[in-house]
Structure formats: C-alpha cells, structure tokens
Symmetry: C2
Subunit: 224 residues, 2 copies
DNA sequence: AAAGTATTCAAGCAAGTACTTGAATACCAT
DNA sequence: ATGGTATTCAAGTACTTGCTTGAATACTTT
C-alpha cells in the first residue's frame, strides 16, 4: 500500500515522539517527581542532582511530547503533568519492566526485604480501619506532595520530621506508612525506624498514583 | 538520601531501557506488526521497507528490552512479543498520543473521514448479531494474522482477495470490517470498496488487541 | 531605573544511534 | 561435503542526544 506510506510513518513518528521522551532515565526521574506534585525547575534540579540548564532541557523534551506543561508563576516556572494519562505511561512501563526485566526485581528486592508489605486485598479494608481510627495512615513524603493529593484519612508526616513527632504516635495501633509508590524508599525507611522504636508499623506499597489507578478516592487540600 | 542514589538510578535506567526501545518509529512499526502475529525477520523487513540487517538490529533492541523474543525455526528466525503486556505498552502510548497530540488526530482524520465507525457501545451487541448471522464480521488482515487470533464469528477475507470474493457476500446484511486497530487503514479501504459496490458496510475501529484489552473473548485457530 | 533571581537559549564537544555494506554464521537440501 | 538461504555481526559514516558553559531573557524587588 504505497499510498498509505506517508500516513503510517507520520503516525509512528508521533508515537515514537512519546517513546523518545521516555527514553532517558533522567526524564523518567523528572516525570516521577512531577507525578507527585508540580514543581519548579530549580526544585527538580535539586532533587535530581542535575544542573539547572540540563533539567530545563529535559523538561522541554517532555513538554514537546505534551507529557508536561509549564506556567510562569512570578519568578519561577512551574512544571506539572498535563493529565493523568501521563501517569498511565509511566505505570505501564513500570509494570512491563517489573514482569519482564529480572533486573528490576533484583534491584528492588535488595532494598525492600524484611519489610513486609500489605497484601493488595487489604486496600479497601485499610480505609475503613483508617476511618474508624483502628489504623493510622502516614504519608511520609514531603509536605508539598501530601498537599497535592493524598490518601483519605492519611496524615502528613514527612520522613525528615519523623523523629520529632514520634511521641504523638500510638504504640497500640497499627501504623501504615506509604510514599510515592512501589519503587520509593521513603516508606521503607520510615517503617524501619518505627519498628526499631517498638511501633507496629507496616508499609503500603501503593502511592497516590497507584491508588488512583485502582479507582480509589484521593483527597486534595482545599487551601493551596 | 545519598544512600539510595544508586538504587534509584539503577531503577530509572531499567525503565528508560523500555522507553528507549519505544523511541524509534521503526521499532514501533515492528512492534505493531508483531502484535498481530509472529513473523520472520525477512517478512518484517519486507512489510516495513527496511533492509534486513537494519530490521535485525531494531529487533535486537526490542529483544534486549524483553519486548520481543526470538526462536530459530529451520532456516528462519521467528520473532514474537514476549507477552500481552507488550501490547499494553503500545496501547498506552497510543492512547496518550491520541488525547495529547493534536497531530495524531489530524493525521488519522485525513484518512478515516467519511467512513463512519461503530459506536463503542455496539461491541457486545455486535457479537450477538454476528452469532445469529444478522451481521457479517470480516477480518481483512492477511490470513496469517487472522490465524494468530481473531474476533469470534469473524471470517477471514484479506483485503487483497476482496474483489474475487465479492459474490459470496450478501447485500442485505450489514458487513462489519475490522483490521489491526484504530490506526490501520485496511478496514477503511475495505469499507470504501464495499460501499462503492452497493454493500452495507461499516468499519469497526477495534483490532484484536483492543478487543482483548476490553476483556472480550478472542478465537485462535486450533491447527497451526 | 538598577540589581537580583530563575529560566532559557546557543554553542561546543563527547557519546550514542541509525543506517549501509560486506563478511561471518547457522541451518537446509542435495 | 557443497551450495543456497536467512540471519547476525562488524566496521564505517552521518546524524542525534546529553551535558557543560556562558550569555540572554523574564520577572521581582528596591
């Protein structure tokens, strides 16, 4: 079908454009952060240990593929994902890598061992226990990410503030900590530390994105 | 968290590996074909107008990302997707491009206009009508792809054989043609030609993959 | 208006990718 | 074994990407 040659290549080019945007570990790291909350270039550069200029350039690649968009806000430029569909892209890559690439399993296992995770079936039940106060759900990400969206009944307790606020946590209830998702180590570390102090702590593998993709509800801060 | 730096980059590298494999229009085209049916290198090279060596190289990139696998069969090497998860990758990229990139819409519109598609709601109903014989479902892809999996009650009528078999088609029933999916033009062309001849033809946008992802059943040939 | 901060742009270099060509390998048929 | 076919490998070249550096731009504050 020579007549359709141009049509086909043009389409594949568009699809590849999205693929190209996801073809760099740096850009995936940026996207991963942006899926938690919107951020300035400066912030992203700091979080990823990249130069500002380099960060800006990577962001523009993501922007060209319409995965992220930007908005000038005063002196800063704030980047955010264009839609929830962007999360699906990363999710499907992660899912694929999880089942297909033995390396991923090996890497995560090295860091997450000894820290039992919640069974997937517990999700719905967890919310009812959180609602009644039988379980405490902790969001151990930085506060800004909590404010951009968090699980229902979760309270914000950034990992860095953990030590100072230990006293306010109950020893007799189960504490469920979550962070950015299955590959994030914040909750692993939180649970580790809590257990050392004698708390009954457990890690929820999900992050907000995973929660949302399950069709479960998410809360946002009204203020902002 | 300097302690986790290596862990994080190692993971992002793995995810990017998948992204890299999808970062070329050529490779997406190959994957698209492989999602319809397994194929030899020679066949793929022919379908995509690439040199054999180049095709082989692209296939190896896909193979390294575990998106496809290969098996020697006599004199040929047959490539196939490793799992259905590979289809999800392409689907999520396509879905993203569809909503995010205006270009995709513009490109497809240029070729698919004037050819009404079936409403998504018709899917389930379509099968019952096909079952009772009220509608004829035609798979207009090459026969090998039909054999690798097709919609229930569909009969194989490759586009190239259409003219010869017009006589066997009824004028009083609705004919529903489908091909590789929303971006494939085989069914568009089939419907165009059928209408010119006075048939009541309509295009189903789905391909086998889309069908499957909806959780709907698919049939395979027993023989093979 | 002037100075300061955040971001982008432009140029340059090293490294990586895409494609071609011709040789090497693996299997089949005789 | 020999010749034929399908695929992969190796080397070369043009092109693209990733990162750095320093200048340019956009906005804020004084």
């Amino acid at each position: 079908m020579p007549r359709y040659g141009r049509y086909k290549t043009a389409l594949y080019d568009q699809f590849a454009r999205v693929g190209k945007a996801l073809a760099s570990a740096r850009r995936i790291e940026l996207l991963d952060l942006l899926l938690q909350a919107e951020r300035t270039v400066e912030d992203l550069a700091g979080q990823t240990n990249m130069s500002i200029a380099n960060t800006s350039q990577h962001l523009q690649v993501l922007k060209q593929a319409r995965i992220v968009e930007s908005e000038r806000r005063g002196n800063h430029v704030v980047y955010r994902v264009t839609s929830d569909h962007a999360g699906n892209l990363l999710t499907s890559i992660q899912q694929f890598a999880e089942v297909g690439l033995a390396e991923v399993d090996a890497i995560t296992r090295r860091f997450h061992d000894g820290c039992e995770e919640m069974e997937p079936v517990d999700r719905v039940q967890l919310m009812t226990r959180a609602k009644t106060g039988d379980a405490i759900v902790l969001d151990v990400r930085p506060k800004a990410e909590y404010e951009a969206g968090h699980l229902p009944y979760a309270e914000s307790l950034p990992l860095e503030d953990l030590e100072q606020r230990l006293a306010s946590l109950p020893k007799d209830k189960q504490i469920v900590a979550y962070c950015r998702g299955p590959y994030c180590v914040l909750a692993v570390e939180a649970v580790e530390r809590l257990r050392e102090r004698g708390f009954n702590a457990i890690r929820l593998e999900d992050g907000v994105r995973e929660w949302q993709e399950q069709g479960l509800p998410v809360e946002y801060e009204e203020s902002a």
